[in-house]
């Protein structure tokens, strides 16, 4: 038996042992959620699917392939999740949030930070699981930022939003849930329409860039490339897993809530009194500090995702090159992770909880999140250049 085969057997054994242990400690649902998380990690790492790189390629090279794969993910997830949310309204809950100033500011800042951290919520976990050295700077501060951001979220929400005057009850903020208004079929069609429009805008931007540079290229050629690339398969797999997660957990896939909870638990363990905290001191979040992490839904999928990305990275590419972070990388990584976590809590989540969760729940805040975060990423990419990050 080769070393590679024994490594792979070891990974499978560890996965089985981990899932069985967590099932024993926290129940069958917990075990299933870890398995789904492993699936997310395998798909993200195995297919090389990510948000940050796709956005950067669009901004820098006018390559829309990553963006189109993300739109495909939105369509698949919406098509599978919205009928479930409509059919089981008592048990399943979508990610619906108001269009608040905290969302607008938080998503914009998140877009900047994700380019400097070189990963969004899922991307940062993905890189940490795969052993990326930069994660040693990003992840601890990402967790701390999520904890502090959640703590400050109620204060940010008290600022209201630009459209609150249109809300039936302005104190609750202005949110738009297309599901009750249009039904699941109508809401899916609206999402498909938006995805097609976004895709066309990016195609046009590519065409304009191609015409400007004089490089020959065709829409059909690009479509063929996109269709054959692994990202599109990833979009299908992740979309299906997203719907399974919704059925099992009763809520959309999320990442940053779990990270904030880990930060809150570490803070409490270090003696910080969170009893009077505006977020962690009130129900239902306060109760989660009195329970094991293995009872928390987002923590379970995060654990699975970390393992899945590790498994996929070791399965195909067990490189052993030495890497070190410079002092400059440490500073940028720590700062970017902190801002990433903080802004994600203001924006009701990262690319997963805020963007994918919002869109696949037919909540308009998901598209607002995308617009603001992409705008922020344009600044983030420019900032990367100034900082010599390429």
């Amino acid at each position: 038996m080769s070393v590679s085969q024994s490594s792979r057997l070891g990974i499978v054994f560890l996965a089985i042992a981990g899932v069985v242990t967590i099932t024993f400690l926290a129940g069958v649902q917990a075990g299933l959620l870890v398995l789904i998380g492993i699936g997310f990690g395998l798909a993200l790492q195995g297919f090389g699917f990510g948000f940050t790189g796709g956005w950067r390629r669009m901004i820098q090279a006018r390559d829309p392939s990553g963006m189109l794969a993300q739109m495909a993910l939105m369509v698949v997830a919406s098509a599978l999740a919205l009928p479930l949310l409509a059919a089981f309204p008592e048990e399943l809950v979508g990610a619906v949030a108001p269009i608040s100033w905290s969302l607008i500011i938080g998503a914009f800042v998140f877009g900047i930070a994700m380019q400097l951290a070189d990963g969004c919520g899922s991307g940062s976990l993905n890189k940490a699981g795969a052993g990326n050295i930069y994660s040693w700077a990003v992840m601890p501060s990402f967790i701390f930022g999520s904890f502090v951001g959640a703590s400050h979220q109620p204060a940010w929400l008290s600022l209201g939003g630009p459209l609150d005057a249109l809300a039936p009850d302005p104190s609750l903020g202005f949110s738009v849930n297309l599901l009750p208004a249009f039904g699941s079929t109508g809401a899916i069609l609206v999402n498909v329409l938006i995805c097609v429009m976004v895709g066309l805008v990016f195609f046009k931007m590519r065409a304009a860039a191609t015409a400007h540079s004089g490089t020959p290229g065709s829409a059909s050629g690009l479509a063929s490339t996109v269709w054959n690339m692994p990202w599109l398969k990833a979009a299908a797999v992740i979309g299906i897993l997203y719907a399974i997660h919704l059925a099992v957990a009763g809520q959309p896939w999320g990442i940053v809530y779990g990270l904030g909870l880990w930060g809150a638990k570490i803070a409490a363990g270090l003696g910080v009194n969170l009893a009077d905290d505006a977020f962690w001191g009130v129900a239902p979040h306060a109760a989660r500090l009195t329970e094991p992490v293995l009872w928390d839904i987002t923590s379970l999928t995060n654990i699975g995702l970390l393992f899945g990305t590790m498994a996929a990275s070791r399965w195909t590419n067990p490189d052993s090159a030495k890497n070190f972070l410079s002092a400059r990388q440490w500073v940028i990584g720590l700062a970017a992770g902190l801002v990433l976590g903080y802004s994600a809590r203001l924006a009701f989540g990262c690319n997963i909880g805020g963007f994918l969760g919002g869109v696949a729940s037919a909540s308009l805040h998901g598209w607002v999140w995308f617009a603001m975060a992409f705008l922020g990423s344009i600044f983030g990419v420019a900032l990367r250049k100034r900082l010599g990050m390429g």
Binding site: G27, P284, M310, P318, G357
Partner: protein, 51 residues
């Protein structure tokens, strides 16, 4: 640090923290249904969207 060292170090720290957290609680979990959909029980987990 090699990538493998980074992975091993990460998992030692991470699993250590999980074990430490788990060891602080000895209460049995009021286990939710394996699949919430169709169970008649509403979702109650925390999520980034604010719940």
């Amino acid at each position: 640090m090699t990538r493998l060292t980074s992975i091993l170090l990460f998992w030692v720290v991470f699993v250590g923290l999980l074990v430490l957290d788990q060891s602080r609680f000895d209460k049995p979990r009021p286990e939710p249904p394996a699949v919430l959909m169709g169970s008649g029980i509403a979702a109650s987990g925390g999520h980034c969207s604010g719940r």
